[in-house]
Each structure stands twice: as C-alpha cells, then as structure tokens.
C-alpha cells in the first residue's frame, strides 16, 4: 500500500492566461519511490516550492500529469475530492511555526486528524503520541503554542503534520533559522521517521551536508527545470557543474578536495565525515610511518 509519486511532463504557470503569466515549472519528469529519501536542491526561485505544492495537489499542473498513488491529477481535475491526498502526503512548509493557532499544543497537533474525521478523543491520543515522537516534553502539551521557544514551536508544527499519519512527508527547509544543535535534532528526527515509521521523505534544503548524510536520491532544480537527478555521489562528483548553479559541495568533500592538493588521494570521493575519516586514517598512519 505504498504511495509513489510520478511527474509526467509537468508545466506550471503562475497567473496562467493573463499578461503576467510566469512559467514556474518546465517539463518536469520524475519519480519518488516509496521509502526513499529524496533531496531537492536549487537556488531560491528555482521552482522547488512550486514543485512540492504539486505533491499534495495544492497546485495542479498547467499541463502534464502528476500521479500520487492511484490518483492522477491534471489541469482539469476538480478541486473536490483532493482532500484524501492531503492525508497521504503531509507537507511541512518553511517556518511551519507560523501555522499554529490553537489554544494548546495538544489541540493544535490534533487539528489535522480532526479535519479528516478522526473523533476528538482518538485525535488527542494520536496528538500526544506524535508530540512525544518529535521529542516534546509532556509538560508542554497543555501550554499555548505561542509560549514555546522557536525550536519547540517547529516541533509542534511537524507533529501536527505527522498526526495526519501520512505515507509521504515533505519538508521545506525544516532546519532554516535553527541553531546547529536544533538542526541536528530535526534531521535525526527525520531519518528516524523514515526508518521507523516507513515514511517516504522529500526534503528541500540548502545544506549539502544534510543531502550527503541522509538522502539516497537528489533532484537539482534551476529556472523551473530539473537539470539533474541521481544519487548524492553522482551529483556531488562534478563540483564545477554544481558551482555553475551556485550550489556547493558537502563540507567533507570540500575538505577532501583541499587535501588532494596536499598529496592525499581519495577513491571514491568522500561525501560524509565518516567516509572522509575512513579513507584518511590509513593514509595518515602510512605517512607518519614514512617519516618515522
């Protein structure tokens, strides 16, 4: 019962049919497999946010089709009956703390499931479960969401989307504006969700380290087009090409590139700190031996 998402020749125009029409997506073809961790990277304005709004039919393609599980959406699809898709694909938008509105944390998390007809007491139990899952302390649940810290509010918002029990979780820069520790905690939560709850993850990010550490598939967007897709290793193998799209390398890869100039060799290029350390250690001890 896994949901996979397929884009077929998707174009999207903002203000279609008016003199101010702007094309935001151009001929997008892609597939998101169940259980995968897909990272979407690209500069601001490259169409990432427009792309993810197609994942739960908040936007419908101007031409082409988007298939979400067994539903196919095209320009003529009626707005009615799209609601079940919102339960299948949960989206955590940028700065999701801006969507909180209820009196208590618990009620806010329970808002989503209640919209899908889950009875109040069941929704509350679910909300509590999700709050604990994202690492909120039980003492916070009866407080107003507006009394919490920024990091805690973000967790509440994420729990609010998880409470829909989606099969696909989409996160638009979930770590923006958080300190390094908060970032790490959110990313660990996301990987934990992927492995323990069998969620398909789609992550928009500017953090190449996160892409290298967690993703198994990368989509590169530029000017509304998907300019490349592949494994992190394939994407990060061409630094000059990435540079031409104002995208960088993971810090471990960047460091390895500098080490190459100092006479070290790497094969394959390390993407994460662990890979770097594994290849560096034998070379360091050998070098130490040579000099000794």
């Amino acid at each position: 019962m896994a949901t996979d998402i397929t884009f077929n020749e998707v174009d999207y125009w903002y203000q279609a049919g008016s003199p101010y029409a702007v094309q935001a997506l151009r001929d997008i073809n892609l597939n998101i497999k169940p259980g995968s961790f897909t990272a979407v990277i690209g500069q601001t304005g490259s169409g990432k946010s427009t792309l993810i709004q197609h994942l739960n039919a908040l936007l419908k393609p101007s031409s082409g089709t988007v298939t979400i599980g067994d539903r196919t959406i095209d320009a003529t699809t009626k707005n009615k009956h799209l609601k079940p898709l919102r339960k299948k694909v949960g989206i955590v938008f940028q700065f999701p703390e801006n969507q909180l509105f209820e009196e208590t944390v618990l009620k806010d998390i329970a808002f989503g499931p209640q919209n899908f007809g889950v009875p109040t007491d069941e929704a509350m139990t679910l909300a509590k479960k999700m709050a604990l899952l994202v690492g909120l302390d039980e003492s916070l649940l009866k407080r107003s969401p507006f009394d919490l810290s920024g990091g805690q509010m973000r967790r509440v918002a994420i729990a609010g989307v998880l409470a829909l029990e989606p099969e696909v979780l989409v996160l638009d820069e979930p770590t923006a504006g958080l300190d390094p520790r908060g970032r790490l905690e959110i990313m660990q939560l996301v990987t934990q969700l992927q492995s323990e709850q069998d969620l398909t993850i789609v992550l928009i990010t500017h953090q190449m380290d996160d892409v290298a550490n967690y993703a198994d598939h990368v989509i590169v967007m530029a000017h509304g087009e998907m300019v490349k897709q592949g494994t992190p290793r394939a994407i990060f193998s061409d630094a000059d090409w990435l540079e031409s799209y104002q995208l960088g390398l993971p810090s471990a890869t960047r460091f390895a590139n500098q080490l190459i100039k100092a006479g070290f060799t790497f094969d394959p290029m390390p993407l994460t700190e662990d890979e770097l350390a594994d290849q560096l250690l034998p070379q360091l001890s050998k070098e130490g031996h040579d000099h000794g």
């Binding site: 203000q15 709004q53 339960k87």
Partner: protein
C-alpha cells in the same frame, strides 16, 4: 490571490504613471465628488469619456481594469437588485406583494451601477499607476497645511505608508498559511456559512500573531536607528509638480465643470 487586482500597482512609464501623486489624488477625489452630480445622459457621457481617456493614458490593457471589477461583482449585483426592487415611483412594470419594479427604480439602479463602475475605475487608475508609498507621500504633502493646527501629519503618513507597505506581505503570508492549513485538511469554501466561518480562524490567528510580531520587530529596528516621531525630515523622493500635471489638472477641471454646468442647465 492571483486574481486580486484591485488596489495593486502595475509598473509602467505612461503619462499617468509619471504624474505627481498629489495631482492624481486631487483629480481622483474631484472626479469622485462630481460623479454624484451626474444625473443624465450627457453628464455621464462626459464622465465616461474622461475616464476612458485616463484609462488609455495609463497604457495598461483595458482587460486588466475589468478584471479589477470582478471581486466587486456581487456587491454591484446586490446594490442594483435592491434599487430595482425597492426603488419606488413612476410607471409600475411588475409587482408582487411589496416587491415592485418601477420606472424610477430601474433608472436609479442604472445610475448607481454607473456611478459604482466609474468610482471603482478611477480609483483603480490611481492605484494601478501610483506606488503605494508615493500615494502616502502625496497624502502627507496634501495634508501638510494641517500641521499649523498641530495635526500629526507626519505620524499619520508614517502609519499610512507602513500599512500600505505590508499589504502585499500580509497577502503572501495569508496565502502561505492557507496552504499550510489546507495541507492539514482544511476545506476552504466548502460547507455552509458556519463551516466557512470556522475555517477562517486557523488563518486569522496566525496572521494576527505574525503581524504583531512583525510590528514589534519594525518598531525595535526603527528605534535602534534613532527614529523620532514628528521630526522634520527630508524626503528621498521629492514630489515635483510638472507641466504634465498642470495640463492634466486643467483637462479634469474643465471636463468636471462642464458636467456641473450641464446638470444645472438642463
């Protein structure tokens, strides 16, 4: 929000775009005032001609102006229907209980609709062709004589420009919040009135909270840069009255005077 054209600025370099905002403000207000004097075919002809010339002088396609009318469509229909059914007097065409369609009712419905459209279009010309901040500057400059009466003109202008500046920001934010709540299963525009009102709460509360937070941030930033209320400050954008302003102004004064003269002559 894509279709919401009313009150939006459309960049351009037309004759109207280049006019002094004070000229445009005064001309618009005069026009709106005189609309209420128009009462017969000839007066409306002059008013419509003046409006059409102004629309053409903005170099913005007429279709865009007409789209600005769409959000107000239901309001117009409603006012017209009230006039048609409740306006009394003259020949009775149709009657049912206390509802009747009379000659006077139809005439006044026509007049009201005409006035509605003219007023909306002239204000649309102003907002399409003038940046919100320029409008605020214009209002400040026009109100400056009130300073002698200790009226806080500068403060009012500041409030106005801050408010105008954040209209697009708040609209963007409202759209983002709506998308987020839609993703949590809210069905906007579905169900009965009660249901619809309930769906407004999850938009309004976050929107207000954000607006207040933003206001606090802005006031802190302004204080940090030493902002003092009511100081005499110079302007980066100087308003300059030019020949085009005088010419447009004269055209408006002559046409509008003609309307008043025609009204009292006939």
């Amino acid at each position: 929000m894509d279709k919401f054209m009313f009150g939006r600025y459309i960049p351009g370099h037309s004759w109207v775009h280049k006019l002094d905002p004070r000229a445009k403000l005064v001309m618009s207000f005069m026009y709106i005032g005189v609309v209420f004097f128009a009462n017969n075919f000839w007066t409306y002809l002059v008013m419509t001609a003046l409006l059409l010339v102004s629309v053409l002088a903005t170099a913005i396609p007429i279709g865009v102006f007409l789209r600005g009318l769409i959000p107000l469509f239901w309001l117009m229909i409603f006012t017209v229907l009230i006039q048609v059914f409740f306006g009394a007097g003259g020949h009775v065409y149709w009657q049912w209980g206390w509802l009747s369609v009379t000659h006077n009712g139809l005439t006044s419905a026509g007049l009201i609709l005409m006035r509605f459209v003219l007023i909306i279009l002239i204000s649309t010309i102003l907002t399409f062709s003038t940046q919100p901040l320029a409008i605020a500057d214009g209002i400040e400059s026009l109100l400056s004589p009130l300073r002698k009466l200790h009226f806080p003109v500068a403060t009012l202008a500041l409030m106005l420009s801050l408010a105008l500046r954040f209209v697009p920001t708040l609209m963007d934010e409202a759209e983002k919040i709506m998308n987020a709540q839609r993703s949590r299963g809210v069905d906007f525009g579905a169900g009965g009135l009660r249901q619809r009102i309930k769906t407004i709460v999850p938009i309004l509360i976050p929107l207000f909270v954000n607006a207040f937070n933003r206001a606090v941030d802005i006031s802190t930033a302004m204080e940090a840069r030493g902002y003092q209320d009511g100081e005499q400050r110079t302007k980066y954008r100087q308003l300059k009255w030019q020949r085009a302003d005088t010419i447009s102004f004269i055209v408006f004064v002559i046409s509008l005077s003609a309307v008043i003269v025609i009204r009292y002559m006939s």
